[in-house]
């Protein structure tokens, strides 16, 4: 595809073709070459705490059962009966040791083995080798409660795939010795939006905040934007696509918004390098390539009142060209008290849930953008990605990856697009 072959050079010059944000051919490539290869997020361990617990999720258009088997092992399988393809698990969450197909009754253990076949003798005359017809397995890997799956047997380990980004994920995942848990099931909704613009936005688009969320400044949620808004760091893992934006506001107390006790905790759960950075971090907005994002932010439902630090984790699940479904969770520190968790969740619903005031505006912009990007004139246009091209990496940066000393910049995005191209353009 011409667009893609030229794209490599364009990115270096700070340009990305518009068409990739809403194009049927691109979607076909993404389904197999990208989502067939990467590690995709499936769920959080706290969603399936007990043996038999399961949730159903997706990798591209594949419906996946994520379950904890009877031995407590986490496993993932295609939610499709091997006999004729019926969907065997029809709920989004539940608990079951086995799945029985409602068409002809094949029975599978939640660990995938085919254990029951009616008429195995009287029908198949022993011809059917049950061991050959278990559920299609999906490789899983975990980091600090996050469960990922890949459809590629030859994919590198999750650890290698994350490539050091774990250092930054800890700001979301290790606020205390017991880590985090989901507050409850995720918000889920559909939108005519391309997943990639969301993933880009959450890998550190400090640029949009003062405008896309201008009401927030108007209502006094934030100090008036301006020069201070540009303070912070943008960090990415070269060749991996992962990236994070760290916003810093001078004068804010360290770890503002966290309860005392938790800040105490972190002294032990986090490394010194992490503490140095996270203490100064007001906002942390990052993306695990390709489509899992996080945001942590101090927020007070009523402007001016003391706030809490809420954390949202979101999966931008693609369902077609320029079409997606959203999963949005609120993560809370396991060690926080019920009241803090509740207040953090309320802040989340008001700001970033499906009816969240910030969420609303992002999706309006993204949906309009996606529609325009699909037009015939747009197909030959490029977008500028030239911010921070002259920036030198911070030399004494305590963490992995490449960090630049600025919050409003596009270094992260260029790496993200180069990585995307390395999959879709088959350069890997």
């Amino acid at each position: 595809m011409k667009t893609l072959t030229e794209m490599g050079a364009s990115i270096e010059n700070g340009r990305v073709p518009a068409r990739i944000f809403n194009d049927p051919e691109i979607w076909e490539l993404e389904k197999t070459k990208l989502f067939g290869k990467v590690w995709s997020f499936l769920g959080h361990e706290s969603e399936i705490p007990a043996p038999g617990d399961y949730v159903t999720r997706y990798i591209a258009d594949n419906n996946i059962i994520l379950a904890r088997d009877e031995h407590g092992e986490i496993c993932a399988h295609l939610n499709m009966c091997r006999h004729r393809g019926n969907q065997i698990c029809k709920a989004e969450m539940g608990n079951s040791s086995h799945f029985r197909c409602s068409y002809h009754g094949w029975v599978y253990k939640n660990s995938g083995e085919l254990v029951g076949v009616p008429y195995l003798k009287a029908g198949y005359d022993g011809r059917l080798d049950r061991s050959q017809w278990g559920l299609v397995k999906v490789r899983v890997g975990t980091y600090e409660g996050l469960i990922f799956g890949t459809l590629d047997p030859d994919a590198p380990s999750l650890q290698e795939y994350l490539g050091g980004f774990q250092f930054y994920l800890d700001i979301y995942l290790k606020p205390g010795p017991s880590g985090v848990e989901v507050y409850g099931p995720p918000d889920r909704w559909a939108a005519d939006t391309d997943w990639k613009i969301c993933a880009e936005n959450f890998s550190g688009d400090g640029y949009h905040t003062p405008v896309a969320h201008q009401f927030g400044f108007q209502l006094g949620y934030f100090p008036s934007s301006g020069s201070s808004h540009n303070l912070g760091w943008a960090v990415h893992i070269p060749g991996k696509g992962h990236a994070i934006g760290l916003g810093h506001t001078p004068g804010l107390p360290p770890f503002v918004g966290y309860p005392e006790a938790l800040v105490e905790h972190m002294q032990h759960t986090l490394s010194q390098g992490q503490l140095d950075i996270f203490a100064k971090t007001r906002t942390a907005v990052g993306t695990v390539f390709p489509n899992l994002s996080f945001l942590i932010q101090p927020f007070s439902p009523i402007p001016g009142e003391p706030g809490v630090r809420f954390c949202t984790m979101r999966l931008w699940h693609p369902t077609g060209p320029g079409r997606m479904e959203m999963y949005s969770w609120c993560l809370v520190p396991r060690d926080a008290d019920a009241d803090y968790k509740e207040r953090a969740y309320q802040a989340y619903t008001l700001a970033f849930g499906q009816a969240g005031t910030f969420e609303q505006d992002d999706f309006e912009n993204w949906t309009n953008l996606t529609r325009q990007a699909g037009s015939s004139l747009a197909r030959d246009l490029e977008f500028p990605y030239q911010m921070g091209m002259d920036l030198k990496p911070v030399t004494d940066w305590p963490g992995p990856g490449v960090a630049v000393d600025r919050y409003v910049t596009e270094n992260n995005f260029r790496n993200q697009w180069a990585t995307w191209l390395s999959y879709v353009g088959e350069q890997r």
């Binding site: 918000d187 889920r188 969320h213 849930g353 609303q360 505006d361």
Partner: protein, 170 residues
């Protein structure tokens, strides 16, 4: 066959709910807010697809809306700015309300009002539109010559909601 609640009350409550919808669809959000008691709550739980015999389908923890009158007022102040992009241009919503059932509430002077609401939403110059269906269970209270919402509880009938954002009220 006679209902516990007088026809007078029933018709008056039906009118109250219709006026509420009109306030929302005409974007008179301050009028709408005035229909809430000071201690009023506004709640929309998250729905999950579960098996038939599951303990719950509406999450006891996750909520789409979880507001008191103060946060509702924040949402409205936001809509009054020029920067609520989700509603720029304004959505054309129409709350089609039906199946209203009025019953005495737990507390004296309060009533439990159940209704169905089909919300039609059109935006911009797009011919495509959104429809969301909801069940509502409200608690209202007499306040002199008018009604006030003590609790608006609404549940959407989808577990994956088919609209790109919820910048309108249910």
């Amino acid at each position: 066959m006679t209902t516990v609640v007088s026809d007078l009350i029933t018709l008056s409550v039906q009118r109250f709910l219709a006026e509420e919808c009109l306030a929302l669809d005409e974007r008179r959000f301050r009028d709408w807010l005035d229909m809430f008691a000071e201690d009023g709550r506004y709640e929309v739980p998250v729905r999950v697809t579960r098996e038939k015999d599951a303990e719950w389908q509406l999450s006891p923890r996750s909520r789409i809306f979880d507001d008191d009158k103060r946060t509702l007022e924040i949402r409205i102040r936001r809509l009054e700015t020029d920067f609520a992009w989700a509603e720029q241009p304004p959505s054309r919503t129409r709350h089609h309300l039906s199946n209203i059932l009025v019953d005495p509430g737990d507390d004296p002077g309060t009533y439990l009002v159940r209704s169905n609401c089909l919300i039609y939403r059109s935006r911009g110059d797009q011919a495509a539109y959104d429809i969301v269906s909801a069940q509502r269970r409200d608690v209202i209270r007499e306040d002199g010559q008018r009604w006030l919402f003590v609790h608006r509880w609404a549940a959407l009938d989808q577990s994956t909601v088919s609209t790109h954002n919820l910048s309108f009220f249910i």
